[in-house]
Amino acid sequence: MIRVLLPQPLRTLARVEGEVELEVEGAVTRDSVLDALERAYPALCGTIRDHQTRERRAFVRFFACEQDLSHEPADAPLPEAVADGREPFLVVGAIAGGRA
């Protein structure tokens, strides 16, 4: 079971509280986790990755195990602690300066 922690705006959008738990088949990578997340919560399509390019949106970051994984390849394996459910995969809105 993969644990994913979403930022508050996306929890509201997906109508969930706390962490999301997902079953991921095969290799546990950023994309396979996000694919499972979007299948379970279609309202999140396009909010973390661009609809068309599937690239990470510019103000979204990915953390896990106290590491910044935002710039890791999308198909790279996530840390073992994420894959076995000991640690959550964090989707984080970047601190962008509080423009509004």
Partner: protein, 395 residues
């Protein structure tokens, strides 16, 4: 005894204000979509309880929301409340947030480049929906004006969106450039007398018109003069801030440009300046009285850098002569120390008699007039910065 509903989009959520036809006491519902920018909300003329909303975020992108009960409850089209969000095969149902430029050979236009602020060519990239314009007679048909500038249409109640690519691809797109707020298509006007005719306006490209329902388009900027482009009378490149039309006089258009208030009497073929005696001809909003097609409203704003009312006095200016001769409307509006802005989609009129006029400010006030502008009062005054205001008269 009718009612009035005012839909208010702000930097941090949406609010729905309602009153009976006296328009004296207002109920405030919200924030809906708290924390998100709501660029625009608008109800369908043929089904006023069908309301579309553009919920957007620099972090998380574009969400389209729909209400079928006048803003009490909301859902993403294709995913009604309480229904599974996936198909039996497990595939996402919601495509309603997907705005993809049409580059197909059959119907699309190549995704070439437009200009960046400094003239450098950059590719089109979808950012957000600025304006939603429901069809005049079909609640399931709605148009979306987006940044980077393009026009999309949904014919299934907002579930799926398709670009009317003849606009972006008609030939001048490579010369379009962003205004300060981005390269946005912010105005969509449907001609009630000719279903094939649509007007749109883009910052900073200008105004455009189709006469065949969106297949082919042409720029309609003859008569505009803009000092900030190399050729001030160029076919495109003008920073049009907003355009308004009275439905009984669809050939007559009024425009607030980045400097200059303009008027066209022939569907945009030619424009002439009607700024007249305004204290400044810069501003964002412009609207037309619901029952008097020659009565128009603007809110002059000091520019280029300040973007607040001249002399710290919030004044709506009204012309009863279709421009040139203007009177300041100040009764009930702050006349000292007022430094708010009124953004391009933040003024609206209702169709009651006398006509109601509404506008919202970046200071979070929504002002209303129950008498065509003679007097004003704040119907709510401490919202987040207001991005858009739309009034609906209800049965």
């Amino acid at each position: 005894m009718g009612r009035v509903r005012v839909l208010v989009g702000t930097r941090k959520g949406a609010f729905v204000l309602t009153s009976d036809s006296s328009r004296e006491n207002w109920e405030v519902s919200g924030p809906h979509f708290a924390g998100w920018e709501v660029y625009h909300m608008k109800g369908s003329p043929s089904d006023p309880d069908r309301v579309y909303a553009s919920q957007t975020s620099g972090w998380f992108g574009q969400i389209i929301q729909r209400s079928d009960d006048g803003g009490k409850t909301w859902f993403q089209p294709g995913t009604p409340p309480g229904e599974p969000t996936t198909t039996p095969e497990g595939m996402p149902k919601g495509e309603s947030n997907k705005f993809v430029y049409d580059t197909s050979e059959e119907t699309g236009a190549p995704l070439t480049t437009h200009q960046f602020y400094d003239g450098k060519p950059v590719p089109w990239e979808f950012k957000r929906v600025w304006h939603l314009e429901p069809s005049l007679d079909d609640p399931d048909t709605v148009y979306a004006g987006v940044e980077d500038a393009a026009l999309f249409r949904s014919t299934d109640g907002g579930r799926t969106w398709h670009e009317l690519s003849g606009l972006r691809g008609h030939g001048t797109g490579s010369q379009w450039q962003p205004g300060a707020g981005g390269m946005c298509l912010h105005t969509i006007i449907l001609d009630p007398s000719d279903r094939g005719r649509i007007y749109v306006a883009i910052s900073a490209a200008g105004a455009f018109r189709t006469d065949d329902g969106g297949k082919t388009w042409k720029p309609i900027n003859r008569g505009l003069h803009s000092q900030y482009i190399p050729d001030p009378t160029a076919e495109v490149g003008h920073c049009v801030h907003h355009v308004a039309m009275h439905p009984a006089r669809p050939e007559v258009l009024f425009m607030q440009k980045h400097w200059d208030v303009m008027r066209s009497d022939n569907g945009g073929e030619n424009w002439r300046e009607v700024s007249g005696d305004l204290p400044t001809d810069f501003g964002f909003v412009i609207d037309v009285h619901a029952h008097e097609p020659e009565t128009i409203y603007v809110v002059p704003i000091k520019s280029d850098a300040e973007h607040y009312p001249p002399d710290g006095k919030l004044r709506v200016y009204r012309s009863r002569t279709g421009g040139n001769e203007w009177e300041a409307l100040t009764n009930g509006l702050p006349q000292e120390n007022c430094y708010v802005n009124v953004l391009r989609d933040a003024m609206s009129v209702d169709t009651l008699d006398p006509c109601g006029v509404y506008f919202g400010t970046t200071g979070g006030q929504v002002y209303a007039s129950r008498d065509g502008g003679d007097s004003w009062h704040p119907i709510v005054r401490d919202l987040p910065a207001v991005l858009s205001v739309e009034a609906q008269a209800l049965p």
